[in-house]
């Protein structure tokens, strides 16, 4: 386990969450001809003070999952319990309360900040909707505190987003996410638009804020090394499903699902001395369309282990003999030659 083990109380429990986007034909009379199965039965738990990393390639449904958890999309079926309450049943005051508690930091710090608003207005805007958090007279002071917390100069409260660099803008986005003192922050690719030297600054900031405010993060990213650094547990998604989940060491050192193995082996290692030392699995083809996923196991069309059984039977996400964490593969087996310690 990691250096600071998360306490066991669960703040968010997602149970078999499904989101299908209908595909329709016809202009006047619309007829549903299919569905894009963006999220197709995802279950996960998030504990207080914990970071859950979600990795997967584009189109695997990780951003749709983020939107569902923010309740920006309504699910087709399934539940998400925030402190025991299903967030999709909430209305009115209770829903507002929920929105206070789950906040998001977006990927692109350029398009997620309104260019016509000052930084003070951007960070203070949540207080307009939730005035109970900061009374009108204290807002400016509170915004300046937030700027200070994320490492920006509080005197820059009247500046506009274009006067800041990418990394600084991401800090503004984080300050806005923190304004309502949420319990959960969903970070949707928060560092992928930033330069390497600035990425580390933002990752450090997110970690220190977590310690300071006891935040839980859902950290969605495609950069596997950043996810490993920040996460306590990791879930790997493929075509709308979680295919493997476990602690960071279980996923990165003892992966059992072929997709996880391929993903890890594809990550370039920043160390030329290990060139050629590890097995690189080059997957053939592209991810199938989520509108028409393969029968049985969804990864079987690109998998080197696939058999007839994989086409017929959908493998459950469960712990199989010989491994210590959940994996959705009939033939789950630890493979270490794809991993390089660096």
């Amino acid at each position: 386990m990691t250096s600071n083990p998360p306490s066991s109380d669960v703040v968010l429990e997602v149970d078999d969450l499904v989101k299908h986007f209908p595909l329709t034909t016809g202009v006047v009379v619309k007829r549903q001809v299919g569905a894009v199965k963006a999220v197709d039965g995802v279950s996960l738990q998030l504990r207080r003070g914990e970071t859950l990393g979600i990795v997967g390639e584009s189109g695997c449904g990780k951003s749709t999952l983020a939107k569902l958890l923010m309740r920006l999309e309504e699910p087709t079926s399934g539940k998400a319990l925030f402190k025991g309450q299903n967030i999709y049943d909430l209305k009115g005051r209770a829903l507002r309360e929920l929105r206070r508690n789950i906040q998001i930091v977006f990927q692109d710090p350029y398009s997620s900040l309104n260019p016509r608003m000052t930084v003070g207005d951007i960070i203070g805007e949540p207080f307009d909707i939730h005035p109970e958090v900061a009374p009108r007279g204290q807002r400016r002071k509170r915004v300046q505190e937030l700027l200070d917390v994320v490492g920006l100069n509080p005197e820059h409260i009247n500046r506009y987003p274009h006067q800041f660099s990418g990394g600084q803008r991401q800090r503004i986005g984080i300050a806005r996410g923190l304004a309502l003192r949420p319990e959960i922050i969903i970070c949707d690719e928060p560092v992928s638009a930033l330069d390497v030297s600035v990425q580390a600054q933002v990752v450090n900031l997110l970690e220190s804020l977590q310690d300071e405010f006891g935040l839980s993060y859902i950290f969605i990213a495609h950069d596997l090394s950043v996810v490993r650094h920040i996460s306590d547990r990791v879930a790997v998604m493929y075509l709308g499903r979680i295919v493997e989940t476990g602690t960071d060491a279980q996923i990165y050192e003892r992966p059992t699902h072929p997709y996880t193995q391929a993903l890890l082996s594809a990550v370039p290692v920043p160390d030329p001395s290990v060139r050629g030392q590890r097995q690189q699995i080059i997957l053939t083809g592209d991810v199938p369309s989520p509108a028409n996923p393969p029968s049985g196991c969804r990864f079987r069309t690109r998998c080197w282990k696939a058999t007839d059984k994989c086409a017929e039977e959908d493998p459950a996400l469960t712990v199989r003999p010989g491994s210590d964490h959940e994996s959705a593969c009939h033939y789950a087996a630890v493979r270490e030659d794809v991993v390089v310690q660096h």
């Binding site: 990691t2 250096s3 600071n4 390639e57 584009s58 660099s165 990394g167 600084q168 330069d195 390497v196 030297s197 600035v198 990425q199 580390a200 600054q201 990752v203 450090n204 970690e207 220190s208 495609h222 596997l224 090394s225 950043v226 490993r228 650094h229 920040i230 960071d248 990165y252 391929a262 993903l263 082996s265 594809a266 990550v267 370039p268 290692v269 920043p270 160390d271 030329p272 001395s273 060139r275 690189q280 080059i282 997957l283 083809g285 592209d286 310690q341 660096h342």
Partner: protein, 349 residues
């Protein structure tokens, strides 16, 4: 700028051989309303046949502008090459008139871009766009050009190439679009291929496919490859030697193994240390403080000084030239030797 002249002496490893491509003291500036941005300030490097040169840098470091100047596709105005030379097999391309230079583009040096969707024309089928290379440059008939285009699509491993040649760019996935762009770039069998962030927009599994394809093509054709990237992982996997750029200048130049084992410039050191590593989990990452400089107002002295943990008084006054530290390794730092040997303490703040 006199200080940037050092380090251009012939590299000891390749002395006597005419390099495939030689960039010497290249200077590019952008004249904008907000002032003159000095994007490239005296960049020099050489590329030999079959060699992979990685140009590593953050956004605004001038790595793409250098490539555009080499290709002669700089938007001008506002961009102007204000000095230096780009020699292909000894011939200075910058001295040639436009129509003669055109003959080099695509045939001698060609380039692939980060964003294949915007680099391809959305209203023509991809097969037609690849075939255009043969129709325009080699005067082939439509039919022959189409046939060659299909062959190229097969070479870059696009499945069902003949059927897909009539499809439009939006009908392909990101990885397949990048393959189409690679097909166009290698159509005329160039000697130098410049790949500007070829996999930045792609997923890791697709990135692995594309890098493998580039490596195979390079080996088959013995091309010189210039790989422009900010990804330290990709560089470690494929490069022979590295140029680290910062603020329009080369900060460090070295064979790939040496640079990862022991960087000789504080900026390279900072970049390498900011990568998350397993043994550092739970600890704070060592980030480089501050921001890259504004190119319209580059600080006096060393460009990296405001962010450098080791900066001393001399760094404020003198811009360090790119100078040889140990044979084959160059660094633009007053304390390169000390940084290389790990024999320097951070300055008192």
């Amino acid at each position: 700028m006199a200080t940037t002249q050092a380090g251009i002496a012939p590299r000891p490893d390749q002395a006597g051989v005419t390099p495939l491509l030689e960039v010497e003291n290249l200077q590019v500036e952008f004249r904008t309303r907000d002032g003159v941005a000095k994007a490239v300030n005296g960049v020099s490097y050489t590329l030999h046949e079959g060699e992979t040169l990685a140009v590593l840098g953050e956004s605004g470091s001038g790595k793409s502008v250098t490539a555009q100047a080499i290709m002669g596709i700089l938007d001008s105005p506002p961009g102007f090459v204000t000095g230096g030379a780009v020699r292909f097999r000894g011939q200075d391309l910058l001295a040639l008139p436009d129509d003669e230079r055109r003959a080099y583009r695509g045939r001698s040096i060609s380039m692939i871009f980060q964003d294949a969707l915007s680099a391809l024309n959305p209203v023509f089928p991809v097969g037609w766009q690849i075939a255009e290379m043969f129709r325009v440059h080699e005067g082939l008939s439509k039919k022959d050009a189409k046939q060659r285009a299909v062959e190229l699509m097969e070479q870059v491993r696009i499945p069902a190439a003949r059927e897909r040649a009539g499809d439009y760019p939006h009908q392909f996935s990101g990885g397949m679009r990048q393959r189409i762009m690679i097909a166009m770039a290698i159509a005329l069998d160039p000697d130098v291929l410049i790949a500007d962030e070829p996999t930045t927009a792609l997923d890791v599994t697709v990135q692995a496919q594309i890098m493998q394809l580039l490596a195979d093509l390079q080996r088959e054709r013995n091309m010189g490859l210039i790989l422009i990237t900010h990804d330290l992982g990709v560089v470690a996997d494929v490069a022979d030697k590295i140029e680290v750029m910062y603020s329009g200048r080369i900060m460090e130049q070295a064979p790939v193994h040496d640079i990862y084992a022991a960087p000789a410039h504080p900026y390279t050191k900072g970049l390498l240390e900011s990568i998350p590593r397993v043994d550092l989990k739970g600890q704070e990452l060592s980030a480089i403080k501050g921001l890259p400089p504004n190119l319209t107002n580059i600080p006096a002295g060393c460009e990296f000084r405001p962010r450098c943990p080791y900066a001393r008084d001399i760094c404020k006054e003198q811009r360090p030239p790119l100078a040889e530290v140990v044979p084959g390794r160059f660094s633009a730092c007053h304390f390169a030797q000390e940084v290389l040997e790990g024999d320097i303490e951070p300055a008192q703040q």
